[in-house]
Subunit: 420 residues, 2 copies
Amino acid sequence: MKKRNAFYAQSGGVTAVINASAAGVIETARKHQDKIGKVIAGRNGIIGALTEDLIDTGRDSATAIAALKHTPSGAFGSCRYKLKGLAESRAQYERLIDVFRAHDIGYFFYNGGNDSADTCLKVSQIADRLNYPLQAIHIPKTVDNDLVLTDNCPGFGSVAKYVATSMREAAFDVASMAKTSTKIFVMEVMGRHAGWITAAVGLAEDKKTPIPLLLLFPEVVFDEAKFLRAVREKTERFGYCCIGVSEGLRDASGKLMAETGTRDAFGHAQLGGIGPQIAQLIREKLNYKYHWAVADYLQRAARHIASKTDLEQSYAVGKAAVQFALGGHNAIMPAIIRTSDVPYRWKIKAAPLAKIANHEKMLPKTYITRDGFGITDKARAYLTPLIRGETPPPFKNGVPQYVRLKNIPLPKKLDMDFAI
Amino acid sequence: MKKRNAFYAQSGGVTAVINASAAGVIETARKHQDKIGKVIAGRNGIIGALTEDLIDTGRDSATAIAALKHTPSGAFGSCRYKLKGLAESRAQYERLIDVFRAHDIGYFFYNGGNDSADTCLKVSQIADRLNYPLQAIHIPKTVDNDLVLTDNCPGFGSVAKYVATSMREAAFDVASMAKTSTKIFVMEVMGRHAGWITAAVGLAEDKKTPIPLLLLFPEVVFDEAKFLRAVREKTERFGYCCIGVSEGLRDASGKLMAETGTRDAFGHAQLGGIGPQIAQLIREKLNYKYHWAVADYLQRAARHIASKTDLEQSYAVGKAAVQFALGGHNAIMPAIIRTSDVPYRWKIKAAPLAKIANHEKMLPKTYITRDGFGITDKARAYLTPLIRGETPPPFKNGVPQYVRLKNIPLPKKLDMDFAI
């Protein structure tokens, strides 16, 4: 087996643990220096490959690479840049192969969600057509948890732990204040298409710690009258009510509720998202005092409260990607296979990209309670193991210590610039 | 010394660590059962005393009381209910003494901020006038950090740690995305009058981890043109820019910026706070893509990332309150006195309530950099020790385990109901 270089890039929205996958790739590759030469990273994702803006990860120490395991964000930069079909984006795909050829890249590791799974598959196809020997492996990452064939997606478990913890803490706060002040707390969470993160808010409560909690899923059409009845019922019975709402909540016409808001004098859509909208609605119709929170990036960047399960799996898929590559695999993704709920057990298996790209795993209907506002025991059995375990980063002077790599550029080999 | 009962109540907005002060009071009182009988808590703060809705804390085990140290929120309920002057609110003050007399309460421990310091002082005065023997001790608590005579206020350090950590994490996230996506991240923080929490956002960055960060303090009049220049400069130089903005940001006329927003078709003030407003302004004027977060209650309820220093001090002021009471003190507050910055050292001293009530400690001008957008080294020296140390709660199934006390009511002794 001829020794060749590897390329690694991060794609789309970053997470609290995507860098653990990078560490898995780099540390595993370093253990196989007879077969893998450099691990070259794309600066700002695939754009780095297209523009030959490459990083020599070999210039960073073992200590720095190990520190990626406790550092959120994308250490090499990520991007939102979608390659289209092979015909439509042919120039880009061919350019990728040119760059790979110039740097003798035999392994393409692409760390992202649905779009990047599709890109990874197409890169493997174009390499094949151009007779360029390349093994393309997709490494799963998405807080949206919507990739198929894998039981769950690295990045999701940590967001899930963050939103469950945050809602539990806020619920305790509101319960203290409800007698004379705030009775309603609304937290908006990510997940525009699928309600996985919304479902995870449901883990804020359990049998030992019940909380009057209503969830608004993107999968359940918003029924204002029914929702307000539920809010009033909870508030009258328990004194307060907490609401977790997906940014992707839709009305009966299928329109995003966040986009149906009023506009200001300049015609700009109002600034608040769906969280403040729901809070305001409750105030207008039920006259309860409210507070609302929109955690936004805080939820996906919160390495300080990352899930240990999530961290381990993120590292494992990076490590497995290299092992699968060395085993001759191509156009696959290391998928997480759950073999047992209690005790939770999982393993990694290669799943074909052709069956992953362009599919979306939605929250099963059986995970949502009949009234549409809660999660079932089945959902709990699925979700709970994913948020289990704590793995705090090192702290100094009260704040987490995250690494910034040197990200030293690799000298360019191609003459031509490439406009993106 | 005749054995008498103690009364404890929580007042105003709760924090991640106010229950540690409750634990300090109860555990210390339990060690002096020769002098202190029951510790009676007011359900929902002072309202519990006025309505004789009292809790027998003796019905909760030592384990449950110890668990208060890792439980955010107000375990007995808090309230927003301000007693006015002795003349104006005479009926309330006399009622308090009636209830105290009925339950043989000789110690009044009131755990709160500025308003409750004032109430505590007045309770001590009315007891004196009515010849009712009572020692009134105020226990400091406020995330706003604005009590005088104490170096800092329990509750603040944990919020400070939360906002510094959150901004650091979000900044890493944005830095990854800035090439093709989000370049601006705005986080709104609490602190309507004083910029202590805004200043703490500045701890997100330090010499080892610089971040292009701008702070908008309530103490600094908002200058739109100057601010936008600073945002553009940071973004052009570093590729992205993070902004921490106080909910109390004011314009040149002294008006709260959050209240100057546009109104919707129904005349309602727009939903978003100042965070989304600032983000939208940057979008309109500089055309950068933005994200914004409003953590709201999450920041003050976040026991999972509480400061160890804060936790220790919260417990210490509760413990000292009981010790001062047993030592014969009245109308005082255990204040935190800093004796050294490096290494950080502090002690507790009794401070007279007469010099605390109705004063507000503002952020010193020397803590804000000359350009108005950052914190000075002096501010860092003050703030850093307050967020130092981690003290995570126990977790089970991925979420923190917080205690809910039994809160068993004490039988009423008075015939008369009291309307509040």
